[in-house]
C-alpha cells in the first residue's frame, strides 16, 4: 500500500495550514503514530515556511508542490519549487554564523529537521529545488469508508 497526495501551495504562510490539515487527515486515516505525526508536522512547517520565505523575492504569487506519500514503513514529504537555488544541507548551525553576518535562512529550523526525520536530502533538478524528508514509522492500513 502506497498512498500519495499532491498539494499545491502558494507562497503565502496561511497556506501552510492547508497542507498541515491534509497531513493530519492522512494520519487519522492511516493510523500514523502521534509522536511521528508531531515530528512530521514540525519538519513540514520548517521546510515549507523556508520555501515560502526565501525562494522568491519578487513580491509575486508563486505556487509549489508538496507531495505526502504514506508507505507501510515510513512517510515521505517532498517539496518541489522553482525558486532560487538553496541547499538546506549546507546551512550552518544558527549558533555558528560568522560574527557580524546575518544568519542564513532557516538555520534553527534546518537543525531541527535533521533531528526530527530519518532522511533529509536536496537536489537541484532542471532549475527546480527538490527537497525530501522521510520519517520511519509503522503505518496502519486505511480505514474502510
Amino acid at each position: 500500500m502506497i498512498h500519495a497526495v499532491d498539494v499545491r501551495v502558494r507562497n503565502d504562510v496561511s497556506d501552510i495550514g492547508i497542507v498541515r490539515d491534509i497531513l493530519d487527515s492522512l494520519a487519522r486515516e492511516f493510523h500514523i503514530p502521534l509522536e511521528a505525526l508531531t515530528q512530521l508536522q514540525v519538519a513540514l512547517d520548517e521546510v515549507v515556511s523556508n520555501v515560502i520565505k526565501y525562494s522568491w523575492d519578487d513580491g509575486e504569487q508563486h505556487e509549489f508542490l508538496v507531495r505526502i506519500t504514506v508507505r507501510p514503513d515510513r512517510v515521505d514529504l517532498e517539496i518541489f519549487d522553482d525558486g532560487r537555488e538553496f541547499d538546506p544541507m549546507t546551512a550552518p548551525s544558527p549558533n555558528h554564523a560568522p560574527e557580524g553576518q546575518r544568519h542564513r535562512p532557516g538555520g534553527l529550523g534546518i537543525r531541527m529537521i535533521k533531528e526530527l526525520v530519518d532522511h533529509f536530502s536536496y537536489e537541484r533538478i532542471d532549475g527546480r529545488n527538490h527537497t525530501t524528508l522521510s520519517k520511519t514509522c509503522k503505518v496502519g492500513t486505511a480505514i474502510q469508508k
Partner: protein
C-alpha cells in the same frame, strides 16, 4: 485540541500566559505580538505556561526569543514553565533549553518570580 489558544491570568504581580494547541509559522506572530504587548504595557513578571502546547516550531522559538530580548530591555522577568515531553525534546533539538528561564511547574515558577505573591490572600 489543535488551534492556538492564548489565555491570560494573574497571580499577584505575575502575569501568566497559558498557551495551548500548536504554535507554528501560521500563528507564531500572534504569540509574539501578545507577549511584546504585555511587556510594553509595563508587566514586570511574565510566565508563559506551555503545558498544553502540542508542539512548536522554530517560528515559535523566534517569537519567544523576541519576547525574552524585549523583557531584558524593559528589565522585566520572563520565564517559561511546564514543558511536556515532546515540547521539551523540541527545545533540546533547537539547543534552547539553556537560552530561556525554564521551570518544571507553574508553582515552582511562581515561587521564583513572586514568592510574596503566593502569600497574598
Amino acid at each position: 485540541m489543535n488551534a492556538l489558544s492564548i489565555v491570560q491570568t494573574r497571580a499577584g504581580d505575575v502575569c501568566i500566559v497559558t498557551l495551548s494547541g500548536r504554535i507554528d509559522s501560521t500563528n507564531a506572530n500572534d504569540v509574539k505580538d501578545e507577549l511584546t504587548r504585555l511587556i510594553s504595557s509595563g508587566e514586570k513578571s511574565i510566565l508563559v505556561d506551555l503545558g498544553a502546547v502540542r508542539y512548536l516550531t522554530s517560528a515559535a522559538f523566534r517569537a519567544l526569543l523576541v519576547a525574552t530580548h524585549e523583557a531584558d530591555h524593559q528589565a522585566a522577568n520572563f520565564a517559561l514553565c511546564s514543558l511536556g515531553g515532546q515540547v521539551r525534546e523540541l527545545f533540546e533539538m533547537g539547543g534552547l533549553l539553556e537560552v530561556f528561564a525554564i521551570h518544571n511547574s507553574r508553582e515552582e515558577a511562581l515561587k521564583q518570580l513572586g514568592g510574596s505573591v503566593l502569600r497574598a490572600p
